[in-house]
């Protein structure tokens, strides 16, 4: 199920992306969340977008996944607009929080997600069983998701994000609430996705996540880009950027 994209295009290409939300009395005001983001991601790469709370990380991923729409700018996946129907099968999204149908059992939810993505029924069932086993939730397959703990929800969220082996993985705080074993599961799934040719974009402020490049988002703009070592100096960087404001 690994997806390919046309040669000559980066897997993900963002040009001058902006987004604002209405604020204030009668929503007449405006708060800029993303201010002209330019970004590229190639297949097989793992990149991290780091930043303090409110910097726009989650908003960026929500736009890339199609949950929100940008005001201006261009987002292309494999050379096609992000909203193209074909791209829906190529993107896997791990959202912040647990916005899932909490009434459904875990396995039933995964099967529903797969059905909505037009996965063949037999493949859907076997993949759901396999992933629940790998994320350590096999014994909870028939339990409603609403009864899961935070860590269990995060494992479930990981499973649903990679269910259809997407070409582009968008992970928003993927390790939030995970224990050591969960970290190991995440590492394993991440490596598998990368080795399968997927591009991975992680939004986080955790320093331990493996990645090829880090971009620091500050007040809606990418202020700094560097290697993995940049994650270790985030606090100092925030102070530096804060003092400039």
């Amino acid at each position: 199920m690994a997806q390919t994209h046309p040669m000559g295009h980066p897997l993900l290409c963002i040009r001058n992306l902006t987004k604002s939300y209405p604020t204030g009395l009668f929503s007449l005001g405006k708060t800029d969340v993303l201010c002209g983001i330019d970004f590229e991601l190639e297949a097989g790469q793992v990149k991290t977008v780091a930043g303090p709370n409110g910097s726009g990380k989650s908003t960026l991923l929500r736009i890339l996944s199609g949950v929100e729409s940008a005001e201006t700018g261009e987002v292309l996946v494999g050379g096609q607009p992000i909203t193209a129907r074909a791209n829906r099968m190529r993107i896997g999204y791990l959202p912040d929080g647990a916005p899932f149908p909490l009434e459904l059992p875990a396995k039933r939810s995964l099967e529903l997600f797969g059905a909505l993505l037009h996965m063949p029924r037999a493949l859907c069932k076997s993949r759901a069983t396999e992933l629940l086993e790998r994320v350590g939730l096999a014994s909870e397959a028939k339990r409603p998701i609403g009864q899961f703990s935070k860590g269990m929800l995060r494992r479930f969220a990981l499973a649903q994000a990679v269910l259809h082996k997407p070409a582009l993985l968008l992970l928003d705080e993927p390790t939030d609430g995970l224990d050591a074993e969960g970290f190991g599961v995440f590492d394993e799934l991440l490596s598998e996705a990368r080795d399968g040719g997927a591009g991975v974009l992680i939004a986080t402020h955790v320093a331990d996540l493996p990645c090829d490049e880090v971009s620091v988002l500050w007040k809606g703009k990418i202020e700094r880009t560097g290697g993995h070592e940049l994650l270790a100096t985030l606090l100092e960087l925030y102070r530096e950027l804060g003092s400039k404001a």
């Binding site: 949950v67 916005p99 909505l116």
Partner: protein, 371 residues
């Protein structure tokens, strides 16, 4: 379980209390019922009471559940649905259809429970009749046809006559006409009217039977229709006699009473009307909850249904006929089935609910974003 009564026990109490109240009633004809009604109308009154409770409870439950589900759909489910659905309208419609089916099944279960309860109580006496309203709320003045007044008396305003498909059978009682004279002009004590039924073939009357009766302004009358032999459509006419004062008939209380196979069909008819009303309310509550929030969505959905109970809203909402349907069932009759406006009103609520839900998903399937 330890905090209070489970929900199901509350629901059971809501249904059993009216059942107990009607079980202990006598089999005498209740005041206000149609004169001449067979004794033993307790099953009808039981249905009226239980379905009245069911309707009120289910309406509140449907609008609450619908608006809350719509709110969660727009605020929680959107995050995972909007990345997977091919079409926002398709996904929203699937949710609305699921809600409609759930309402149908829940009400079907309740209908079975009501009929079970009515079967346990005193048995209905007399043949079951279905009530088909004739004048549809209009009043009709019958006047004798004179050279100065060529208007032929008709008992369907805006239509010439009432047509009926009916084949006489020895084992099936004849239909009846039920009507209520409301006023006589002048000081006349009574008026003579003629009721005729003609078999129509190729647009012509091929057999006709008539019956005449004197009516006074004294409650509701039920008259056996004179049915001619044959199998063609029946044309039923009510005419004023040759002499006598003009007579006004109440539109609300005129009806054709047609024999039914069983009085248990009353709950099926009640289910039909409850379904259109409650499922329609739930469908629009889904959309309103998605756009306005659970509380405001429920309030507005309920307000729409309550407004439908009044005459100004016409007959498009299920609530507009609900009280009449309950009253008909309480009289021991099988209420009439859906009308076209009711089905249209239901369809409109489904469409509006779907579109409101779809707009909450904010999917732009198949469209590129301009750079």
């Amino acid at each position: 379980m330890g905090r209070g009564l489970p929900l199901w026990s509350g629901i059971t109490l809501c249904l059993l209390l009216p059942a107990w109240a009607f079980w202990s009633s006598t089999s005498e004809t209740m005041p206000g019922s149609i004169a001449g009604l067979d004794a033993g109308n307790t099953p009808g009154l039981l249905r009226q009471g239980l379905w009245g409770s069911i309707g009120s409870f289910m309406l509140i439950a449907a609008t609450w559940k619908g608006s809350r589900a719509g709110y969660l759909f727009a605020n929680r489910d959107r995050s995972w649905l909007s990345t997977r659905l091919d079409s926002a309208v398709g996904g929203a419609f699937a949710l609305v259809v699921g809600g409609v089916f759930a309402a149908a099944i829940a009400l079907l279960g309740l209908a079975a429970g009501v009929e079970f309860a009515s079967a346990l109580g005193p048995a209905q006496v007399g043949q079951a009749f279905g009530k088909e309203h004739a004048l549809h709320g209009q009043s009709l003045v019958l006047v004798s046809a004179t050279p100065d007044n060529a208007m032929e008396a008709a008992w369907i305003v805006g239509d010439a006559k009432e047509r009926l498909d009916y084949v006489a059978s020895k084992d099936v009682p004849a239909p009846q006409l039920s009507f209520m004279p409301t006023s006589l002009a002048g000081d006349g004590p009574s008026a003579l009217i003629t009721i005729s039924a003609a078999r129509i073939a190729d647009g012509k009357a091929v057999a006709e039977q008539t019956t005449s009766l004197t009516v006074r302004v004294r409650g509701t009358r039920r008259v056996l229709l004179p049915i001619p032999e044959g199998s063609g459509q029946l044309l039923i006419t009510v005419r004023h006699g040759e002499d006598g004062p003009p007579l006004r008939l109440s539109g609300e209380h005129s009806a054709l009473l047609l024999p039914r196979a069983s009085h248990h069909l009353a709950s099926l008819a009640l289910w039909q009307h409850a379904f259109l009303w409650i499922a329609g309310a739930g469908a629009i509550a889904l959309g309103l909850g998605a756009r306005l929030g659970a509380g405001l969505g429920m309030s507005l959905a309920l307000a729409i249904q309550v407004a439908g109970l009044g005459p100004a809203a016409g007959t498009y909402l299920g609530g507009s006929v609900w009280l009449d349907v309950l009253a008909t069932a309480g009289q021991g009759f099988v209420p009439s089935s859906w009308t076209a406006p009711l089905v249209m009103g239901f369809g409109l609520q489904v469409v509006i609910g779907t579109l409101l839900l779809a707009s909450a998903l904010r999917i732009q399937a198949g469209k590129g974003r301009a750079s």
